[in-house]
Symmetry: C2
Subunit: 288 residues, 2 copies
Amino acid sequence: MRNVTVENITDVFSAYFGDDADPRSKQVLSSLAKHLHAFVKDVELTHDEWRKGLKALEWAGKLTCPERNEFVLLSDVMGLSSLVDMVNSKPDVTSSSVLGPFHVSNAPPLEIGGDMRGDFAGEVVLVEGTVRDANGAPIPGASVDIWQTAPNGLYSSQDPAQETYSFHGLMTTDDRGRYAFTTVRPVSYVVPDDGPAGDILKAAGRHPWRPSHIHFIVEAEGYHSLVTEVFAADDPYLDQDTVFGVRDDLVMHYVKQPAGSFPEEFELSGQVKEEYSRVDFDFKLALI
Amino acid sequence: MRNVTVENITDVFSAYFGDDADPRSKQVLSSLAKHLHAFVKDVELTHDEWRKGLKALEWAGKLTCPERNEFVLLSDVMGLSSLVDMVNSKPDVTSSSVLGPFHVSNAPPLEIGGDMRGDFAGEVVLVEGTVRDANGAPIPGASVDIWQTAPNGLYSSQDPAQETYSFHGLMTTDDRGRYAFTTVRPVSYVVPDDGPAGDILKAAGRHPWRPSHIHFIVEAEGYHSLVTEVFAADDPYLDQDTVFGVRDDLVMHYVKQPAGSFPEEFELSGQVKEEYSRVDFDFKLALI
């Protein structure tokens, strides 16, 4: 096309595809171009704004390292990560929600009833539940990968004071599909806001807070993997998660239990005399 | 918003803006989110594709350095750079076209009639024209910043064998608004295709070629700066510039001139006895 114009550029883009282009690549790239072109036209993006956007991406590149992925964070604060989760969610099972950048692979095995709190202070929380299929039948032998912030609001990968697998555990459900562990409450925290994602939040007049949550990856043979996170019903940021992760079915309750009622069969049994909280949360997985 | 869904996430994004957000920032970010969300929904982007996109941006970050900006190149091959040029073009004057990543600032002054060819071999080309306003009146004292590839298809910043300002010159129009210089023909060339922009071209089954062109930045007090490039009418890639830069009014002709006809008043006068080519190209600038 000799004379590229505002009106024809999106069609010209599509006309440049080779005959042997993979159909899915063509679909994704054509749609990306169509929507980015529409954005530039809608706002009549200036050269200064275009340069600012490119500088933000350059800066994200400089900040990105094994401990921090600023591109993931940009995707998070723009709502893209959550949207990708949602368009890929399966019906009639637990919603997926953002993986985030803080998962550490190969966490050490955690026995059912085991403790993730370690030496950290804070009220004991007992989390338990069952991994089920869409009809409610328990799934024994499912893998439950768990991670959360320490009470200081930092994940181990952000915090030199924590060991790599601090507040990370990998559990296998028992023959009734059950998982159970003790921990301390994670806290609301701010996403890193000293990079371009933070600049977007500042330009939007948005805060960088996420409501407190516990992350899970639940996997079982024959089922779709579930990457999700579970939020506290009483968190002040529940209705304004800056990365758009909250879904109705992912809200759980910390229920106070009286002193002296801590159950048997837990690693901490016999040690917890005082009040503690209990969370019950079941996961439902979709058949492949 | 507690329950973020595929249907409401774009509205939730807009609802999160603070009351004191700058109106233009709000407009640009809302529109960007709206169009990126529509893209994810339209193609039902998978997690693998999302990760692939983020990896491409990470890779672009690693490749970007003072000599190469892969984000600019991604913008170029997606048609965004050209579209930004076009939505900001002024009516009734010369079209703008992509700046590209190869401009070097502070080029040395080049006298009217001066030579940019230096020691490079190749047929002499005489380029001349007048800088005018929208009504055709000449603009004396306009600055004309010129750059192009060497005959090997490389810009000085890509080519260790060239000096920094090889094939770069900064001219000031005379009292009739005229500029003129000699050079050799630039050639069609490939954009760097060993990074994520190249991966897009490969996935699209597109070639990485640009038709040969000479770049200009034309500036004069009281007028909008013009960033543009001028293309050879006989270039085989004129109808499929991989960065969408060609506009009808930016096409020029190399017109053969007989041996012995090289004019006076040029740096090369007296030295060019053989055939040469001549290009006439006028620029029109828009009043601020």
